[in-house]
């Protein structure tokens, strides 16, 4: 913004990260600062790059499933879902209805837990510590529920090609209903404690506005896009699994500022709960695994694409199969990679704390960016 300042060398470079409390992981942002104003920001990525895409080429299709959950440790199931769905699409596997319901229930639970962590961490970025622990308390209930079904708490690896690997029991259904009841009570509390707080409103309203055009040019998706007035949700626009059977809204806010993104996510928690409730009501009986599951996974030649709505946006998998038991090429399109790429443009001329609020509102999960 301030060209004169750069020319006169009145700027300095501030290294935000790779180890910094606000970057939630090992992201480094090279900030050129004019006082506390950001002249230029350059995110430096790749500190936990693991080359998941090469691993896909060295493992069988089934063996790669655990990897997908490890990309985004907060909403691992969405990523499992995307991967399972693309292989099923290629092989033409019909997933039993009950399995689809279980997928939706668990993915939506996982989405709520992811948003809760984001909520806590975002307020932590803004200097409020307590909401983090309230959010973690609520999330703990989800983790317990998911653990009772999948067997683990973070990297679930619950889906299989053609279904899920375990059926749920009555306890899970009751527990989920119980959880939704308590969550319905918690959300107004969060709104009273955080959303309506004048300090928070002052910090988020009109901070970091992102225009519709910027969103489109950078390919941002998910709550970031929906906070800028773009009504795009893969679950609605390009329905997969059994999402068309549920009645839910896509929260859209038009302001484009950090508050809008915040509100989108808070509203999404409510919508996810609605989906879960409907799914529990309609849950059909039947197998959770396709009866004639192919023993050896060898998708036919060709390339396939599948997008799913992960907690952070549209997660896409482009797979190229050469008809063998390993992927020829597997491209993982992670939503936060695109979402973060607009940060550099959006934060120019902002104060450092505002830029961190903006960064927090993008909901970064670094392993997912770096893959």
């Amino acid at each position: 913004m301030n060209k004169a300042a750069i020319d006169n060398q009145e700027t300095f470079v501030l290294n935000l990260g790779p180890q910094h409390p606000a970057t939630h992981g090992v992201l480094r942002v090279k900030l050129t600062m004019d006082g506390e104003y950001i002249v230029h920001a350059e995110p430096v990525l790749g500190y936990i790059h693991r080359m998941h895409e090469k691993m896909a080429e060295n493992r069988t299709w089934a063996q790669y499933m655990p990897n997908t959950g490890r990309m985004d440790y907060l909403s691992a199931l969405s990523y499992n879902h995307g991967y399972a769905a693309v292989v099923e699409r290629a092989m033409g596997i019909e997933v039993p209805e009950r399995a689809e319901y279980l997928r939706v229930i668990t993915v939506e639970l996982n989405r709520i837990s992811s948003h809760l962590v984001w909520f806590g961490a975002f307020i932590l970025d803004l200097g409020g510590f307590t909401p983090l622990l309230y959010a973690f308390d609520d999330r703990e209930k989800i983790l317990d529920l998911l653990e009772s079904v999948t067997g683990s708490r973070l990297t679930y690896c619950y889906f299989r090609f053609g279904g899920v690997y375990n059926d749920i029991d009555e306890n899970f259904v009751d527990g989920t209903r119980e959880f939704i009841k308590t969550m319905r009570k918690s959300i107004p509390m969060y709104h009273d404690l955080v959303t309506k707080n004048i300090i928070l409103m002052k910090r988020l309203n009109d901070i970091g506005p992102i225009s519709k055009e910027t969103i489109r040019k950078y390919g941002a998706t998910g709550p970031v896009a929906r906070g800028s007035g773009i009504d795009y949700d893969v679950r609605k626009n390009e329905p997969y699994s059994i999402y068309p059977e549920f009645d839910f809204d896509v929260p859209v806010y038009h302001e484009g500022d950090s508050m809008a993104r915040y509100m989108v996510r808070m509203d999404e928690i409510e919508q996810s709960m609605r989906i879960i409730e409907q799914a529990l009501d309609k849950l059909p009986d039947g197998p959770v695994m396709v009866a004639k599951a192919p023993k050896i996974i060898k998708p036919p030649k060709g390339d396939y694409y599948q997008a799913v709505e992960a907690a952070r946006g549209s997660f896409g998998i482009r797979m190229v199969s050469d008809g063998t038991n390993k992927a020829y090429r597997l491209k993982l399109r992670s939503p936060t990679f695109s979402n973060l790429s607009l940060f550099s443009e959006a934060c120019e001329g902002m104060l450092l704390p505002d830029a961190l609020a903006l960064m927090g509102s993008l909901d970064l999960v670094i392993p997912e960016i770096d893959r």
Binding site: G219, Y305, R371
Partner: protein, 182 residues
Amino acid sequence: MDFAKLKEQLRPLAILEDVVAEETADVEVEQEEGAADLDAQSVPEPQQLPAINEVDHQAKGFDLDVKVEADKVVEAAKILDEQGFFLEAVTGVDWLKENQLEVVYDYCMWQPQCRVVIRTRLDRENPVIPTISAVIPGANWHERETHDFFGIKFSGHPNLIPILLPEDSDFHPLLKDFKVNE
């Protein structure tokens, strides 16, 4: 968005390609296949159609598949950008046997849902392709990533340094002849 109009706009960009008999399976095409293989360099036969194919979304996950020459990707990006598409990802595929590198651009539109794939093949020895980051700034990082993984050079790219790999890396791990040390 008018899908048919978009197809018309993209049609001139697509390379001409021998039609592989599929859903448009005609007897003529089948006859031509052998002939086209014999002299691929000859003047395009009427049966060599532009490589712009509508794809069954249910089966493949995208709607339009366009093969273009490397120097047409910018033009394609402009057309799609004007139509309101956004760029999902840029990536590559290494076709070692054919000694070619494929660059794939995934475009998507929010409403109505439409996914367009632009793909182009490059020579593996000298993979250079113009950048589309001037048209779509979001492509910047995706192209850097593709450069990291495949060594594809995006000419005109403002900042083609490694993004995910270490800044001093000189290897391209997604090439098929890259050896993985287990």
